[in-house]
């Protein structure tokens, strides 16, 4: 029986449809977030000028723009696309099952997310405009409407974020239960593709870190609406309490959106270099260590926020120690390329770029992680450049890598490689043009979140760098038009993809492209680890996970 249109495409319980819904919603939100970035970048380069396509940017409008840009990119782009979309699409396929453990919960999770997105978008249109307290939402600024003049925008912001958290929690419960309980026969934890490890690590981190912030959000909402004083010193509350709750969540949250991106890299690298991943277990363990450490580093966001100065050193040490597991991870990625046979597909180029650019984000993190150096660098453009160099590769570049890689599986057609190459080149050039100058601005002491750099004389001679950065950001946004064209054109007119266009070994490539309802024609049985490429005892350079010994290599190449 064919399900009705509504059941099939709208209120679907199929994990693949839900994944696509998440992806489309996330990409639309990314367009909005990018547009906001365009508006405030133009304001920063040419302060006071009317921005084409927007109009003049007032100071509170500027604050709202940066607040919403941060909020949207973290919670409505990174999380839905990397965690929810890739997670929903890949988990059942990669572990060889027909669907998530709780398909209806999955649907509820998406619709909760959609409602939260609509609430957030609606907050631009209410009187007073959108929230303008910074994406970190520090009280007291956020605890009383009169401090910013934004009333409904702030309420809606909290409500939307709370719903988004609820949606991601439901998704996380689903992911974890599915991976723990529904793996195909023979698929032990250490035969899971690394992407699955990254997704479940991210879900665990999210689930255990978000609780205190949800409690904090309840308190903040009461402070705003009822007038209680949980975070107001005159009532006996403490503003720093919220910062602690926020960053106890905030740092693991960075890894929640980072790990799935690194997971994409670990999937694409072996396929495109025809070589098994280097140090599978080392990568798994370093991810777990980094995840554990992420719970004891949160105060590094608060070195100069008035916390007890004696706390800085312990938190600084734990922070800098995080560089070790990530170094293990990245070196393993690089070592995977050693003596490989590298094919430069678009997905591979994006994955390599993730490593190359993330390295710069990683090493500059040391500057911020050192408590003393952070006295100077905190809240400057150096921090802005640093976290864009970590999050842009891990979120946006990895997202593109993942889409170019799994698009054939999602839609049954290949994306255009020529357009993909052009998209890649322009994206990388303009990304660096946007954010490299910001390191220099940070060194010069240009602090964040000011609408007009010309308010301060000492910043005047660096204004050229602001202009450069803005030109880069405009180019970066325009370059994405190529991706949009490629995405939609390939969806309908791309070259038909077979089951396994990349000759990859993991289970998702066993299914038809796109997989039908129920995914697998028969439950696959897994005989080996995920990345058996170019094994020494075989002519073929790949050996799928599901083929029994003796039958390896019998699968026809599509």
């Amino acid at each position: 029986m064919e399900p009705s249109f509504l059941r099939k495409y709208v209120f679907s319980v199929d994990h693949k449809t839900i994944a696509k819904q998440y992806m489309i919603t996330g990409l639309l939100m990314a367009v909005l977030g990018g547009y906001l970035a365009y508006v405030f970048r133009v304001q920063l380069a040419w302060p006071g000028e009317s921005v084409p396509g927007f109009g003049p940017v007032g100071e509170n409008v500027y604050n709202a723009l940066v607040t919403m840009h941060g909020t949207i990119m973290i919670f409505w782009v990174a999380m839905p696309i990397l965690l929810a979309a890739f997670g929903n699409f890949l988990i059942p396929l990669m572990i060889g099952t027909d669907d998530m453990a709780f398909p209806r919960l999955n649907m509820v999770s998406y619709w909760t997310f959609l409602v939260s997105s609509l609430l957030l978008v609606a907050s631009f249109m209410v009187p007073g405009g959108a929230a303008a307290m910074g994406w970190t939402f520090y009280p007291p600024l956020s605890a009383r409407a009169e401090f910013t003049g934004v009333i409904w925008g702030g309420h809606l912001w909290i409500l939307a974020v709370a719903l988004e958290f609820a949606s991601m929690l439901m998704g996380g419960i689903n992911f974890l239960t599915t991976v723990v309980n529904r793996r195909a026969p023979g698929l032990t934890m250490f035969r899971l593709p690394l992407m699955i490890w990254m997704l479940i690590s991210a879900s665990v981190l999210f689930m255990f870190s978000v609780g205190p912030l949800i409690a904090g959000a309840f308190m903040l909402l009461l402070d705003r609406t009822v007038g209680t004083g949980f975070f107001m010193p005159e009532a006996g509350g403490d503003p720093l309490l919220f910062q602690h709750l926020f960053w106890f969540f905030g740092h693991p949250e960075v890894y929640v959106i980072l790990l799935p991106g690194l997971g994409v890299v670990t999937e694409v690298l072996p396929v495109s270099s025809r070589k098994t991943i280097f140090g599978y277990r080392a990568m798994v363990y370093s991810t777990i260590v980094a995840g554990l450490l992420s719970f004891v580093v949160w105060a590094h966001h608060q070195f100069i926020s008035g916390i007890n100065p004696n706390l800085a050193l312990p938190f600084s040490i734990t922070t800098i120690l995080i560089s070790v597991p990530f170094a293990v991870f990245l070196f393993c990625c690089i070592a995977t390329l050693w003596r490989g046979s590298i094919r430069f597909t678009t997905a591979m180029l994006f994955s390599i770029a993730v490593i190359a650019e993330f390295l710069l984000g990683g090493v500059t993190g040391i500057v911020n992680g050192s408590a003393a150096a952070d006295i100077y660098m905190h809240d400057t453009y150096f921090v802005v450049a640093h976290f864009h160099y970590t999050l842009f590769p891990a979120v946006i570049l990895a997202m593109f890598g993942g889409i170019y890689h799994w698009f054939p599986k999602m839609f049954g057609r290949m994306m255009n490689e020529g357009l993909g190459l052009a998209h890649f080149g322009l994206t990388i050039v303009f990304f660096n043009l946007t954010f490299l100058p910001q390191f220099a601005l940070g060194f010069h002491g240009h602090h964040r979140r000011i609408a007009n750099p010309e308010s301060f004389d000492w910043l005047a001679d660096m204004q050229g760098l602001n202009v450069l950065s803005t030109i880069g950001s405009i180019g970066l946004l325009l370059a994405q038009i190529l991706f949009v064209i490629n995405f939609f054109h390939s969806m309908f007119a791309g070259k038909k993809a077979g089951r396994n266009p990349w000759q990859a070994t993991t289970l998702e490539w066993v299914t038809p492209s796109p997989p039908g309802h129920g995914n697998f024609e028969e439950t696959p049985v897994v005989y080996r680890g995920p990345y058996v490429y170019s094994p020494p005892d075989s002519e073929k350079d790949w050996r799928p996970q599901h083929l029994p010994a003796g039958l390896e290599g019998t699968e026809t190449v599509p």
Partner: protein, 228 residues
């Protein structure tokens, strides 16, 4: 990159600059090294006809040591960076030398209020000198400041002094600086504090001891205290 730093005029600023230099050298070397290796691999091991990839799973310690040994070095360098940073942090944030002058800095939306002691050198007395936007301190003297906020969180930011400290309502946070060169330096607010955040700035006037004494004498004491 260090040439982009604004001129340093504080006693501890040069320590900060050397720390930044040290960190940049260390991470710079590693960054370049990693990128060179990465790009080298990409070039050397690109797909060539008849050449197939090797089987290197990295599952034993011998192979893994290629990755783990550099990481041990990184761990050592991390600790070296911490060791270099700890004294700087200690100087700026964990010590309070005996002050030659104590001032109170009060952040509010969207201005800085400064309270200087009068001729008696004490705060909260009749001859306190208040000023908005202008902080006057003598050169080569230890200035202790007490940060308070009247409304939201601000951040007391003096780039030329390499000093930044958030100002939190409900807390009174103490710190210190010593300026080594006369002149006028910008003060900004580095924490988003509302609509006027962009323009929330002030000036630090660093005067010679003699000029500062004359300035203190020439100020009118506070009116409100006369009436008491």
């Amino acid at each position: 990159m260090l040439s982009w730093l604004p001129e340093n005029v504080s006693s501890y600023g040069s320590d900060m600059d050397s720390l930044l230099r040290l960190i940049l050298y260390i991470v710079g070397v590693w960054f370049v090294l990693a990128e060179v290796v990465l790009i080298g691999f990409l070039v050397v091991y690109r797909k060539k006809p008849g050449k197939r990839a090797a089987w290197v799973p990295g599952s034993n310690l011998k192979q893994l040591s290629w990755v783990l040994l550099p990481c041990v070095v990184i761990l050592g360098l991390d600790l070296a960076i911490e060791a270099a940073g700890a004294p700087v942090w200690h100087t700026i944030k964990q010590t309070l030398p005996d002050p030659d002058l104590t001032v109170r800095v009060s952040g509010k939306q969207f201005a800085w209020d400064f309270t200087h002691p009068g001729e008696d050198g004490q705060l909260d007395t009749d001859d306190d000198i208040k000023s908005e936007f202008d902080l006057y301190v003598p050169v080569d003297s230890v200035v202790q400041f007490e940060l308070v906020s009247e409304d939201v969180i601000h951040s007391f930011w003096l780039p030329h002094l390499r000093l930044k400290q958030d100002v939190v309502p409900g807390r009174s946070i103490k710190g210190w600086f010593e300026v080594t060169k006369e002149g006028i330096y910008p003060i900004a607010c580095a924490e988003l504090c509302g609509i006027g955040h962009t323009k929330m700035g002030a000036r630090l006037h660093v005067q010679s001891l003699e000029e500062h004494r004359i300035w203190v004498q020439s100020q009118e004491p506070l009116d409100e205290f006369w009436e008491e």
